[in-house]
Symmetry: C2
Subunit: 240 residues, 2 copies
């Protein structure tokens, strides 16, 4: 995860969509303060109670935030992709993680140290405004997710999750095992196996040994509950 490159290469790898909401001048200021890193599957970027050493803006990587519960698998309550940032709590003046931060999608990301973030926040009011709004979106999405897990069945939730991953990663194929999907939805792998099997029969997706391909996105949107779209609209309405 430490193979660094110059920020100049960002142009060829795409960029972080959250930062895209900044005006060009501000964005370039932030980008200049970042370094590019390759994140490998399984890398641990933070542990509960530990101080944060870096904040991350994923480009085509995905980072999950997991909460531990006694006698259960860890639950991946949120994920951070190119639409987000890992370490927002620093903007609130809190410098310790409270969740496990694990890379669940290998790829590139931008990162900076907390001290650098603090400096940028002071220099760029627009960055602060952006991160505040992002924090608000996270809270709204979390409440929606809570309602969704309370009421909706595994299959419709799975469809929503796949759509969200599809948005984050920006490609039709991505690596995601059934076990991991089970951790994300808080259900056993068997439940994922069944639901995903049905989707595969319906030609909505194809997967094999951890590589998922979205075949029919409109069909998948049809199979998902409204919660996915609500989450998207929240993001677009406040940040887009």
């Amino acid at each position: 995860m430490d193979s660094l490159r110059q920020p100049a290469v960002i142009a060829e790898t795409g960029t972080n969509r959250l930062l895209l909401a900044l005006q060009l001048e501000d964005r370039e200021h932030v980008l200049a303060a970042c370094e590019v890193v390759e994140l490998a599957f399984g890398d641990v970027l933070g542990e509960p109670g530990r101080g944060r050493t870096q904040v991350y803006f994923p480009i085509d990587s995905v980072i999950s935030e997991l909460v531990s519960v006694r006698d259960h698998e860890n639950l991946a309550v949120t994920y951070v992709g190119s639409e987000g940032m890992l370490g927002v709590e620093l903007a609130l003046g809190v410098s310790t993680c409270h969740l496990h931060n694990v890379v669940h999608g290998a790829g590139t990301a931008l990162r900076m140290r907390p001290a650098t973030l603090y400096r940028e926040l002071k220099l760029l009011p627009a960055l602060q405004t952006l991160l505040f709004r992002y924090i608000h979106v996270l809270r709204a999405q979390l409440t929606q997710a809570l309602a969704c897990t309370s009421f909706h069945a595994v299959d419709v939730r799975l469809a929503g999750r796949l759509l969200a991953m599809h948005d984050s990663i920006g490609e039709d194929s991505f690596h995601l095992t059934q076990k991991l999907l089970g951790q994300m939805l808080g259900v056993r792998r068997v439940g994922i196996s069944n639901a995903a099997g049905v989707f595969q029969e319906q030609q909505l997706i194809y997967y094999s040994r951890g590589l998922i391909t979205i075949l029919d996105r409109p069909g998948l949107e049809n199979a998902a509950c409204g919660c996915y779209q609500i989450g998207q609209d929240l993001y677009d309405g406040i940040l887009g």
Copy 2:
């Protein structure tokens, strides 16, 4: 809900515990900017998409924030009691509610207008720090709640919820119907009826027609899942 009183009477009614974390001088400055209101059961203090007209610091009232889901009862995802504040998103520069805000426990509260809050935030850096930390605690508690609803059964979750209400209200008896508890946990009233019946048999609680009395708090703590305590520790660790 519009029977106003002078802030001077706060002394006799107790106060908001979140504001207690401020130093005396700052706290009095904030209190002087507030007015005292009586909130009645069922009062609606905010609707999704509407602008916020007041922020509230409950004293012995409880305000629920509910999310609507198609084909389901509203789910009370969070509640705000004397340990919290309704309208924190203003501190992030967001001025619209995104949830239904309904009074579920009648009582008194302090309130101020958004413009007043903005003024106080500018004048008192400590208030800003406090609200930022509170926002972070809310997020952490929400992730814990998500894990809890994913994994834990109704009875242990009910115990935790009763304990939290007990903390918030500060008295052993409070008004809370089974229907409302069902909305809070996202289950049918029958589920609450069963679980509460067992607690009543075990002499942990007594209730009758919406009035719940905590008889054996240690016993109830024993019956609850660890999530309740984790939520408390989060609050105490960051704000206490």
